[in-house]
Symmetry: C2
Subunit: 131 residues, 2 copies
């Protein structure tokens, strides 16, 4: 009976590790938070409910597809609520849920750290690239 090679054993460990990682709350939230458009949509909604087209205007960088996709994801995660008013033309409003509001302080913390340390990061990069 063949023994596992060292490489095989390492790969088993890798798969286990990654499986655990997928269930790690921190990474789930980080995955949400780090989505390019999530942050922007969240900030846009911080001041109050907005219609789809209003969000599109504010978050002008997103394609319509990405916008809808982002909103769906946020809705699914319970961070954003969708309110449809049946009429012609249809009216759809989005607003943050309580859970969604809870994420804002974290976003602000990241932004604050970023703004006060970005210069150091840029300096470090310049140093690194020069060599």
């Amino acid at each position: 009976m063949p023994t596992m090679s060292a490489a095989d054993r390492r790969e088993v460990l890798r798969r286990e590790y990654n499986a655990n990682l997928a269930e790690c709350p921190g990474h789930e939230i980080l995955a949400t938070l780090s989505d390019k458009w999530v942050t922007l949509v969240l900030s846009a909604l911080a001041d109050g409910p907005l219609r789809h087209s209003e969000i599109a205007r504010i978050v002008a960088g997103a394609t319509q597809k990405m916008l809808t996709q982002t909103l769906r994801k946020l809705e699914r995660d319970g961070l954003v609520q969708r309110a449809v008013t049946a009429s012609v033309p249809p009216r759809v409003d989005y607003e943050l849920t309580e859970l969604g509001f809870g994420l804002l302080p974290i976003q602000r913390a990241i932004k604050a750290w970023a703004e006060s340390h970005i210069a150091e990061v840029h300096a470090a990069r310049a140093r690194y690239d020069k060599e």
Copy 2:
């Protein structure tokens, strides 16, 4: 001379917006922070310096390529310091810089929020998926 179509104008706006976004400190840091392996390497180094192979053992899910790539990026951003001891076999130690340590509280904040709210997120998902 042809006037710009509405679609063209929108696209110009999109490009400008995205260009600005690339320079936004918040997004730069978020991009770093959200990298799958950055978080794990950072936490691994939180307790003190480690050798390359030790990090590889702790962050067992990363391939060698990803590990080196991550470490280089962190080094470039001035978050991690690399100390080479010329010998046979070579010895390379990595440790957090002061800047790197500064990132840990943010990571912890995200983790804390995640752990106390992940249940709500999962519940919301279950609700959404059922419909």
